[in-house]
């Protein structure tokens, strides 16, 4: 039986603890706030010999992902972490990694993108990765970040797709909370040993030399992408399997989405990451006023749990999608489009409206989400009208 202990840790410390326990073979790193501190903690473990990890400080995030690709192709268990502009700079290689079907873990300590320069949280960085065929998990707090990293390692290796674990910069990465930590042996048994035959054609299997990433002409490129497409659909089952296995060691049963008081809810708010705590508080406030409201958190962002969301919204009258990033495309934020797709599949198509919030670290208060629910209800009842699907909460015009 797993031993557990509760310690007060920041999100970055909890993530470093998961990295220590998993004992990755290789970690590539280039510093960027708010990730730097995480790699600093991990560097201590490396320097003190508490892990077997080879850590390499490279010259930029493009190179960090390149190093991960090389190491993963050779059969190593690898991790890197970044944020905001660092994720942006990695993007070319993210597609290379997933196209090569390499298991790699990337921690995205979510940060806004330039310009203007901001080191604070929003989800614009992660949205750059949403079409890259990386599996993507969002974490609400340090506890979830810790759990997600452990599960991610296994999911990625089973699915043969790289995986991103997101947690909000500063809000999660630098805030201290109680985190329940599993014992090292339990974690190591859960992820299993690392050896090069975890992947089908390791680069350094000298008996079976292979080449990764060769050219595909128009006569084969489509087939390669189709295979990737079909296999990415299998990720749903793999994630569920790993969530189930994890429940046995951690006593928490995770799902693709988390529902809060949605059973009889007429109006539902949806968010990702740390703001979900505030959203639940707002649901409680409104419930006390007799309003039937609920909340949904997206944990598995890619592949998107479209069926589960459709099911969860099947009885609602109105849905407020809370996006921590804008798409600037006249439609709405990235999450809004995903939820709209789910609503299309829902028997009953609830009214849906989009709010952009929390950009560049803007603090999220209960009153903001109260405003969103209020506007949603008025729109849905026809008391107010809209000329756009998307509106900014919290803005000085």
């Amino acid at each position: 039986m797993a031993q557990k202990k509760v310690i007060a840790l920041t999100g970055n410390q909890a993530a470093a603890e998961a990295m220590r326990q998993i004992n990755f073979d290789i970690a590539a790193v280039y510093p960027i706030s708010p990730q730097t501190e995480l790699m600093g903690f991990f560097a201590e473990y490396v320097a003190n010999g508490e892990v077997d990890t080879e850590m390499i400080a490279v010259d930029g995030e493009h190179s960090a992902m390149a190093a991960c690709i090389g190491a993963a192709a050779a059969g190593a268990r690898v991790i890197t972490a970044s944020a905001g502009p660092g994720i942006a700079y990695m993007v070319e290689n993210l597609y290379v990694a997933s196209g090569m079907r390499l298991p790699i873990v990337l921690l995205d300590v979510n940060r806004a993108l330039s310009a203007p320069l901001s080191i604070h949280c929003d989800h614009a960085d992660s949205m750059l990765t949403r079409d890259s065929s990386w599996i993507s998990l969002f974490s609400e707090n340090a506890q979830e970040a810790y759990h997600n990293i452990i599960m991610a390692t296994k999911i990625s290796e089973k699915a043969l797709f790289p995986i991103i674990v997101n947690y909000d910069g500063y809000i999660v990465s630098h805030s201290i909370e109680d985190v329940e930590i599993l014992d090292d042996e339990t974690v190591r048994n859960f992820v299993g040993p690392s050896d090069i035959h975890r992947i089908p054609y390791p680069l350094l299997d000298i008996k079976k030399p292979v080449t990764y990433g060769a050219t595909a002409q128009p006569d084969y490129y489509t087939e390669c992408k189709y295979q990737q497409h079909v296999d990415f659909l299998k990720v749903y089952d793999i994630v569920r399997e790993v969530f189930d296995e994890f429940a046995e060691i951690a006593d928490v049963k995770y799902d693709f989405i988390e529902e809060y008081k949605t059973d009889d809810a007429e109006y539902i708010g949806i968010s990702m990451g740390s703001s979900f705590g505030t959203l639940k508080d707002v649901v409680d406030i409104l419930r006390e006023q007799g309003k039937k409201v609920g909340a949904i958190k997206i944990r598995l962002f890619r592949p998107f749990p479209v069926k589960e969301v459709a099911e969860a919204l099947s009885k609602a009258k109105g849905v407020a999608v809370l996006d921590r990033a804008d798409s600037f495309d006249g439609i709405g934020g990235p999450l809004f489009k995903d939820i709209s797709t789910a609503v299309m599949m829902s028997q009953n198509r609830p009214f849906i409206h989009n709010f952009i919030y929390g950009l560049g670290g803007r603090e999220v208060k209960e009153e903001d989400f109260l405003k969103a629910f209020d506007r949603l209800e008025r729109l849905e009842k026809g008391i107010e009208t809209r000329d756009r699907f998307v509106e900014y909460l919290q803005v000085r015009e």
Binding site: P31, S33, T36, E37, A43, E44, A57, D59, P85, L117
Partner: protein
Amino acid sequence: MEFVKLETKLPPKEYRSDLEPTWCPGCGDFGVVTALTKAFSEEQFDPTALSVVSGIGCSSRLPLWMNAFGLHTAHGRALPAAVGIRLAKPEIPTFVTAGDGDIFSIGMEHFPHAARKNFNITLVVMDNRMYALTKNQTSPTSRRGYKGSLNPYGNIEEPMNVITFAIASGATFVAQSYSGNPKHLAETIKAASEHKGFSFVNVLSPCPTFNKIDTFKYYKGRTIDINKELGHDPSDMKKALELASHALDADNPELQDAEPFKGKVPIGIFLKVEKETFEDKVAKLKEQFMAPNGEPNWDEILEKYRP
């Protein structure tokens, strides 16, 4: 192409913005601001026709403190952004002010190309031998053994010799100066801005907050002026390379008595050679295909394709 200039001199302070630098007290980079404003004043640059471009880092905040067109770009991308400005407005002097990390780590690929193409850009690197903004990690110029937050037991890598690198890349003006020597720094930056072509000044610029080794105290009395004290002639490329190859000798305890610097850190102009700039070559090419009225010479161009 000549730069836009004022008819009269403005005092150096006119080149400062009204923002107070957010740098730590005692940061070496303050010296660079002073030297730049002095050079701008002496060169009679027009603040409304002057650009200062940076990447990301403590040092890269410099354009914010200046009264000029400032462009705070992505980490590592100051040089290509400056190249864009050069091509669009060759009459506007363009300075790049950034850190050792920005220029020699993440943005490294741009240096040799901007240098060998000989864009008329003045690049001032504030070299504190580490990444300061992200709170102390080793950079490509960090000395061996330097302790940063990602290598608590010290750097196992060798620092790069940026002076040799710049010469080998084809930079036409290569110098090193020190922010603790305001006179030398101002003169060097002025000479760099007067140079037509790619000029690079590596400024030893201590970070008292994090780097406890490469400090003002360390450099005090430890610099040697290669031009004044050793009589180096910057038009001598061979000698420049030979001297440059010893630029990091001072780091090495075993080379404290070795020639040519005897444990000192060299400052001064290593190389200054004249070559046609990229911008001038572009202008010539354009001229070649322009009729006297300034329009493209269509007949001449189309003649090539006529059967």
